[in-house]
Amino acid sequence: MSSGSLPKGSVIRDPGYPTASENYLTNSKGALSWIFTLDHKRIGVMYLIGVTVSFAFAGLLALLIRLHLFLPEGMIFKGAEANNYYNQVFTLHGAVMVFLFIIPSIPAALGNFLVPVMLGAKDVAFPRLNLTSFYLWCIGAIFFIAALFSTGLDTGWTFYTPYSTTTDTSVIAATMGAFILGFSSIFTGLNFIVTINTMRPPGMTWFRMPLFLWATYSTSIIQVLATPVLGITLLLLIAERTMHIGIFDPEFNGDPVTYQHFFWFYSHPAVYIMILPAFGVISDLISVHSHKRIFGYRFIAYSSIAIALLGFLVWGHHMFTAGMSPLTTIIFSALTFTVSVPSAIKVFNWIATMYKGSISLTTPMCFAIAFIFLFTIGGLTGLHLGTLATDQHLHDTYFVVAHFHYVMVGGTLIAFLGGVFHWWPKLFGKMYSEWGGRLAAVIIFIGFNLTFLPQFVLGSRGMPRRYATYDPEFAFLHQMSTYGALTLGIGLVIALVVLLASLVRGKRAPANPWGGATLEWHCTSPPPFYNFERAPVVGDPYDFSNVEWDQENERYVSTEPERKLAPEESPKSVPAHADGGH
C-alpha cells in the first residue's frame, strides 16, 4: 500500500485471485464444455476468436488490394481476369469487414463478456439464445466462404441492383449469409435489451450504468429495429434474381433506386451499430485511465439514444447523386447535419474528462487518444459529404473511402483494440507487455494515417473508388497509401503477438489493474463462473475516490469505510410487534 494513502477507518476490499475451479476458463474442461457452453463469457471469447479471424482474413485482402494499386496498371492481378479478381477481392474485403467483423466486434465479442458482469448479473437473460446467435454467426460466415469458393462475389458489399440481379457470381450464397448474420445480430440485440431492462441488481439505476451499457443498449435498439429491413431487402433481392418479380430490376419494370432506399435504411443505422459501441468503450477507457469522473455523463448517455434514433432519418445521404427530387435531397442533407451535433459534443466531453485528470498512458489510453484524433477527422470530413454541392464532386471517390475508413477503422477498430487491451486482464487473467502494447498503438496510428490521409487528396482530385486500374497522375498518392497499409499491418501483427504472448508469459492479473470503479473490476480476473459470489454492492461507476493504488502488489484496490459491528448484547426490551401476541 502506498504509504499513508489509506484513509483512516477504512478497510481494503479486494477479491484476490480465483482458484482453478472458480475461474470460468478452467472450471470445466474439454472441447464440448466450450461448444455447448451457456456461459456468456465463454460465448464472448468464442466471438472474439471468430471476429479476429475474420478481421485477419479481410485485412489480408485489404493488403492485396493496396499492393495491386501500387501501380496504375495494377501490380498483383494480371491477365484477362485481372479486373474480375480485383472486384471480387474488394467486395469480399468490404463484406467480411462489415458483416463478419465490425458489426459483431464490440457488441457481440466484448458486449457478451461485459454486459452481465458490468451489470452485476450472473448471465444474459437468454443464455440459449445467446449460444444460438453465435452459431448463426458461424453459419453466416460459412455462407460467405462458400460464396468465395464457388464463383466469388463481385457486387461490392452494397449488392446494388440491377448489377447484383444480373451478375453470374454467388450473390445468393452471400446474401443468404448476410441474412443469417442479421438474425444473429437481432438475437444479440434482443438479449441485451432484456438483460439490461430486467436483470439489473438492486441499486443499479439507469444512471448508475456504465456508459458502455448505455451504448450497448442503444446499439441493440438499432439492431432489433433496423436489421429486419435488411433481411427483407435481401430476400426481395433473391426473389428478384430467381423469379424476376420486378421490384428492383428495370428490365421487369422495377426501380433500382428503390433498392438503394431499402438498403440504406438498414445500412445507415448499421453505421451506428458500428460506432455507438465504440463511443461506449472510449467513454469508459478515458474515464478509467484518467481516474476521473466522466464529464457530462447524462449527455453522453442521452446522445447515444439520440444518435440511435436520428440515425434512422438520414439514409438518403448515400444517394445525393442518384437523382432523387431536389426537395428530398435537401431534407436528407439537413437531417444529416443534425446527427453531427451529438457526435461532436462527445468529443468535447472526452477531452473535458482528461482535463485535470490523473492520466496513465497505458496501452488502452493510447488507443483512446488515437481514437479521438482519428474519429474527429472521420466525423469532420463527413461535413464535406453532407454538404450537397461538394458531395456532387466527392461522392463515390476515394474521399468517401478515406472518410469511412477513418470512422470504421480509425473509430471502431481502434476502440475495439483499446477495449480488448483494457479488458484483456479481465478476460484471461494475464497482464501483457505494456511496452509492446504501446508500440503497437503508435505504429498502428502512424500506419493508419499514412494509409488514409492521402486518400482524401486522391478523392478531391477526382479518383473514383472501386477502380482496378487508374490514371498515372494518381500513382504517387496511391503508393503512399500502400506503404501506410504495410505499416498498419505490421502494427496489427505486433498487437496480436503482444496479446498472445501474454497468455504464455504474462503476469497474473489482479482484479483491478487500472483502477476502474465499474463492477467488472470488483470480481476476480478472470471472473468466477457466476461472476460474483453474492450480489455486488452497486456504486457510482465513475467515482474513483475510494480506488487506491497498492504499490507493493501493483494493483488497485477499493477501500470502504470500516463498518462498526452491532453491539454484542441483545436488546433489553423486545419491540412490541415482535413478540407475536400478548
Partner: protein
Amino acid sequence: MMLMNLPKAFSLLGDYSEPYAWFPESASSFSEINDSLYYWITITCMVFFVPIVIALFYFAVKYNKPKGTKAESNVAHNTVLEVTWSIVPSFFLVGMFIFGAKAFLEMRDVPDGANEINVQAFKWGWTIDYGSGVFHPELHILKDEPVKLSMRSTDVIHSLYIPAFRAKKDIVPGRYNYMWFKPTVASEKVSDEELAAAIKQTKDLGESWNFDEHQFTPDGYRFYDLYCAEYCGTNHSEMQTVVVVHETLEDLNAWIKQYSKRDASVPPAEYGEKLYKNRGCAGCHSIDGTKRVGPSFAELYGRPEEMITGDKINADENYIRESILYPKAQVVAGYQPVMPSYKGQLSDDDIYSLIEYMKTLAKDGGAAK
C-alpha cells in the same frame, strides 16, 4: 524519392499542369463555388480540429501522473460550457447546409437554352449522340455554353463524373437522369508535329490510342477526364472517356462533321475501323486474338462459332449483323450476354462497313466464305 514529392502532394494549387495538386483543374461554372465551399468547410473543420488535438495531446502529457495520484478535479458537468459547445458548432452546420443546398439547386436547375446532348452509358463505355446519326465516345462541347446531358443506361447503374467540372450524376437504367454544366475553359490544340508524332508512334506500336500517355485526343485536343463513378462490374475502371471543350462553334462543327456518315471516298473497311474504335466495340473485343469480355474479332469472319445452346454457327454477314442488332439472341459459348444492342444506333452502311472491316481481320482477308 517519396519524400521529395511530399510537399507537392499537398499543394493547394489546383493546376492541371501540376501533377500533385489538391484539386483537378477547375473548368466549369460550378468549380469555383464548389472549391470555395470545400475550402471553407475545411478551414472551419481546422478551427475545431486544431484546438481539439492540441488539448488532447497537451492534457495527455500535462496530466500524466504516477499511478494512484488522485485527479485534481472531479467536475461532473458544466451547463454553460456544454450549452455553448453544442450551439456554436450548430451555426456553422446551418451555414454549410444552406450554402451547399443553394449551390446544389443551381446544379439541378438547367438554364433555358442549354444545348441538349443525349448520352448512353453501357458496360463499359459511352456513346454520345450528336444528332443526325453522329455518335462518338468523346464528349465535345462548346465553351461558355450551358450543356444539358440527358442520360440513359442500357444495363446497370453507371455514373457520369467529370472531376474538372465538379459534376457527377448517376445513370439509372429505366430512367432518364439529367445533369448540366457550363464549361469555362477551352481545350488547347496541340501542334501538328506533336500530333503526327503521336499518331505515328501509335501506328508503329500497333496499339490503340494511349490517352494517358499523350494527354491529348487522336484529333489533337487536350481533354478533361470523364469517369464512370458507380461500380458497374468487370471493366468499371476502364469506363472512361474524355471531354473536349471547343473555343468556337465552327471548330466544334468541324469536329462533328469529321464523324458524320462515311464519305463516299472513304473505303468501308477503313470507316469500319473507325466505328470499331468509336462505338465502344474496342472495349470488349480485341483485334489481336486476346479474349476479353467478348470474343476477339481476329479471324472471326467465316469461323464456325459454338453457341451456349451448343449449336455451331458460321460467323457470316448475317450472323454478325444479328449479333450487333440483337446481341442476346445468340451468345457464344464461354461469354456472358452483356453486350448492348446497337439497334437504331448504327445505320445499314455502318454495319456493312464494320463487316468489311472484320473481313480484313480474317485469316485470308475474308476471301473465303
